[in-house]
């Protein structure tokens, strides 16, 4: 069964600092990997996805992620965090089949706090 681990439950960074959020997955084949952000009282917004190909993927809001097959990871990065980035970040893995209907398995999330 597929699974996702986000080792950091809480992270605090200063505004303007760089950020890296960790995500490790377990899946028997090539997975589809996603990062979502959930701001307080909001739904889940898709930040970026990795399916295959280039291991460095770009997302929205200045986020990027690097896929490392050897480490079964897709870590999310941002060069300079703004205070508005305080939110909960979820990594998810979907079955690596084309088309839709894939069940997503989510990690427990990383709560990001930004200090001014």
């Amino acid at each position: 069964a597929q699974s996702v681990t986000q080792p950091d439950i809480h992270i605090t960074v200063s505004e303007g600092a760089s950020l890296e959020l960790r995500c490790n997955y377990s899946y028997g084949a090539t997975p589809y990997l996603f990062w979502y952000v959930q701001s307080p009282g909001q739904g889940l917004q898709l930040l970026l996805k990795y399916f295959s190909g280039d291991t460095l993927v770009q997302g929205i809001k200045g986020f990027e992620a690097e896929f490392k097959r050897s480490q079964s990871s897709l870590n999310l990065r941002k060069r300079s965090v703004h205070w508005s980035g305080a939110a909960e970040y979820f990594c998810a893995v979907g079955e690596g089949v084309t088309g839709g209907g894939n069940k997503l398995t989510f990690g427990t999330g990383t709560q990001l706090k930004v200090e001014l």
Binding site: Y36, G43, L44, F90, G99, G101, T108
Partner: protein, 111 residues
Amino acid sequence: EPEVTQTPSHQVTQMGQEVILRCVPISNHLYFYWYRQILGQKVEFLVSFYNNEISEKSEIFDDQFSVERPDGSNFTLKIRSTKLEDSAMYFCASSAGAEQYFGPGTRLTVT
């Protein structure tokens, strides 16, 4: 930009009552999903739906749950007899392919 919408944003119901949570997926999407998030826990898959039938469902999605696409735009989740442990945020999602787009959620409180 098209988005998934959900109504109501908050639903309070008494234990044993039926509730229907409504979703309007993105119009050209063909795959629909329900997830839930109990307070403080991870987002969990409930069910996926395609071509007017359930594609996959989790162990959580027992006989008390049902889904329906009653017309060309709505996608509903019905809980027939709510329990206290059904209290959670319920998210609807839709996709044209592998990328799923989520609605803002319905917070269900069972008292």
